[in-house]
Symmetry: C2
Subunit: 112 residues, 2 copies
């Protein structure tokens, strides 16, 4: 997007949707929980502290966005991260936030 020809309207919408998928705290918690390996819905429900219905909905959203993959094993469904760029994305955002937080801290130190 930056070093490329400007995106057309449709591509812009797709990129926006992608960001929107990552714009919900519960979905970020799910992704975070999956960084160390696949887990089933019951485990994810316990780890994130949501209701089963809600977790299941968010998982469907993440599947539709190709962020996660699923694997069925008997009664259980195991989810795992499908898109390796997700971790980089989150790190980029976290890094940028750390910088702006430390900037704010510096301002406070300076008496602002």
């Amino acid at each position: 997007m930056s070093r490329r020809i400007p995106l057309n309207d449709q591509s812009i919408e797709i990129v926006a949707r992608r960001f929107a998928v990552l714009a919900e705290p519960m979905r970020l918690r799910l992704i975070q929980s999956l960084f160390d390996g696949e887990k089933n819905v019951t485990e994810l429900t316990a780890l994130t502290g949501g209701t089963q219905a809600n977790i299941s909905r968010h998982l469907q959203t993440l599947i539709a966005a190709h962020v996660l993959d699923r694997r069925k094993e008997g009664l259980q469904v195991f989810y795992r991260i499908a898109d390796p760029s997700i971790a980089k994305l989150c790190d980029l955002v976290c890094g940028s936030l750390e910088k702006s937080l430390s900037r704010q801290a510096a301002h406070f130190d300076a008496g602002r």
Copy 2:
């Protein structure tokens, strides 16, 4: 987020907000328009094809999120990209989308 200790609830919310700021097509258009240098509101309104009021609102959102900076010069206000990680973020998303699009294309080629 990936190679770090899991984020606490407050940090998760902040990250989610950050993604949410990038989750609107019009805001992405504004960011894209600013990759090649600062522009004032009138220029941005023309480039993105929105109403002045709407553009102004989105610019305030981007300022609040520290994505953009502003500079006043007489009657005009010039906006520019403040956070250099934005370009990387957009490139990452675009790259990941390209991959999944080409995967889909491959599936179609394979007769799916």
